[in-house]
């Protein structure tokens, strides 16, 4: 047996889980696809594991008040299969199909992925791109945190030890839009060397709102706010050729690791970002039907 000894609690309700979180040195387990490897290496040796897989209310997928709400226990494959998600955010279906491998996606959850906060993972990238709010509860109170404040650094979030993520709120996009997602990986299913996603809202051929986000290029996923400001209000006929590479990489701070060097990431990022922008416009033009809202 590789992991160190621990006690196991399997609460049936959120309240029971929150009470169990008052114990010292506890860890929540959902899919376990990041936690169990760390336990097998004994890098993580919690005294108690709280298995939240039996808490039904964490598995919802709903549209309410112009917002898509995804429960923290929804697995990657459940999200990919969800017609609601695909109808409002086809970018989620597409991007999450690139998360790890099918077997991992059977277990891994949105909550686990975002709480783990790997800056090269797809869910954190989508959360940052789509201005997601993270709905958190504890015994004392419930709170919602904007994604910008949630991701603090690599593998570090605003989540406290006695809290559980209940769900994620993705505000629906008001205007007709185009989207694209692209990533560079060594092997299908690996963490991205660089991942880019964008949503471009367009009225009368004018970009009225634009979101661009890059993963794998810093301690958290990074919104390219400088490029967003530059392109907002511009006509879509204007090509993106005028944007210089150093503008595209201005906000990126990639690290070197065993997958790729920082230099390589900075070298390929501008190409991928431009591809994604061009693909987003193309996607807008091809999808003339209004999104159901």
């Amino acid at each position: 047996m590789k992991p160190a000894k621990f006690d196991y609690i399997n609460p049936k309700t959120l309240d029971e889980a929150l009470k169990a979180l008052q114990l010292d040195d506890v860890k929540l387990i959902a899919g376990g696809q990041s936690l169990v490897p760390l336990m097998n290496y004994r890098l993580s040796q919690p005294s108690t594991i709280i298995d939240i897989n039996s808490i039904k209310e964490l598995s919802i997928i709903n549209i309410m008040n112009e917002t898509l709400e995804i429960g923290s226990l929804v697995t990657h494959n459940e999200a990919i299969k969800s017609k609601i998600i695909n109808n409002y955010f086809p970018i989620i279906t597409d991007a999450i199909s690139n998360t790890a491998h099918k077997t991992i996606r059977n277990s891994g959850t949105i909550g686990g992925s975002i709480a783990h906060a790997d800056p090269a993972a797809e869910w954190p990238l989508l959360a940052m791109l789509l201005d997601c709010k993270i709905n958190i509860c504890s015994l004392k109170n419930n709170r919602s945190v904007k994604v910008m404040k949630f991701f603090i650094s690599e593998l570090t979030t605003d989540l406290n030890e006695n809290e559980i993520i209940k769900s994620f709120s993705f505000p629906l996009i008001k205007n007709k839009y185009g989207w694209a997602f692209e990533e560079i990986v060594q092997r299908s299913g690996d963490f991205a060397i660089i991942a880019v996603a964008s949503i471009i809202e367009i009225i009368n051929n004018i970009i009225v709102e634009i979101k661009i986000c890059v993963g794998g290029a810093g301690e958290t996923p990074i919104r390219l706010s400088n490029i967003e400001q530059l392109l907002k209000g511009k006509k879509i006929e204007n090509s993106f050729d005028d944007i210089k590479n150093d503008q595209l990489t201005l906000l990126l701070k990639p690290n070197s690791d065993n997958h790729a060097s920082a230099e390589y990431r900075l070298h390929i990022a501008p190409k991928i970002i431009k591809n994604v922008l061009i693909k987003s416009i193309k996607n807008y033009k091809e999808n003339t039907n209004d999104k159901k809202i």
Binding site: A4, K5, D7, Y8, N40, I49, D51, T103, I104
Partner: protein, 159 residues
């Protein structure tokens, strides 16, 4: 003292009632406690795919689950496939196409392919390779494994 738990599982159609420590990995439980050693343990941290099993019809990596989490579930391991005298279709396609050499990764591949054939279109070689990307093989270079799957996909079309 860590509390032990009693779990009930159905493995390849047979019911078991077993006592486990919470830290017992599903892979160790299947191999050491149930003595079903067809499930292989490679990397033990969710990278190689050798320990893949089916739980309630879906693949999982048994090195990334605890036995206690399998309570009340139905499990299929490689022992539910054919025998040496009577290979099942996936095993027969592997044999025919020389899709294995040392055979260590094979149980994981066969289980993965069972799920892929049931759930994915696998119309292109790229789709097949993507489906297999979570399983590592150090012998074959994957070519013959892809060929075996292509043959199975063709066969699936006919039946």
């Amino acid at each position: 003292m860590t509390k032990k738990f009693e779990i009930k599982v159905k493995v390849n159609g047979e019911s078991f009632k077993e006592t486990v420590e919470p830290r017992m990995l599903a892979s160790d439980f299947i191999r050491d406690q149930l003595r079903l050693t067809g499930t292989h343990v490679g990397c033990e941290h969710g990278v190689c795919g050798a320990c893949t099993i089916l739980v309630n019809g879906k693949t999982i990596r048994s090195c990334l689950k605890f036995a206690i989490q399998l309570n009340n579930s139905e499990i299929e391991t490689i022992e539910s496939f054919g025998s040496i005298g009577k290979l099942n279709d996936i095993q027969a396609a592997f044999k025919k196409n020389h899709a294995l050499q040392c055979g260590f990764c094979t149980p994981g591949f066969l289980i993965t392919i069972k799920e892929l054939l049931e759930t994915e279109k696998l119309e292109t070689e790229e789709e097949i390779r993507k489906g297999l990307s979570g399983n590592l093989c150090r012998c074959t270079g994957y070519e013959n494994i892809v060929k075996a799957v292509q043959e199975l996909v063709e066969k699936r079309k006919i039946t």
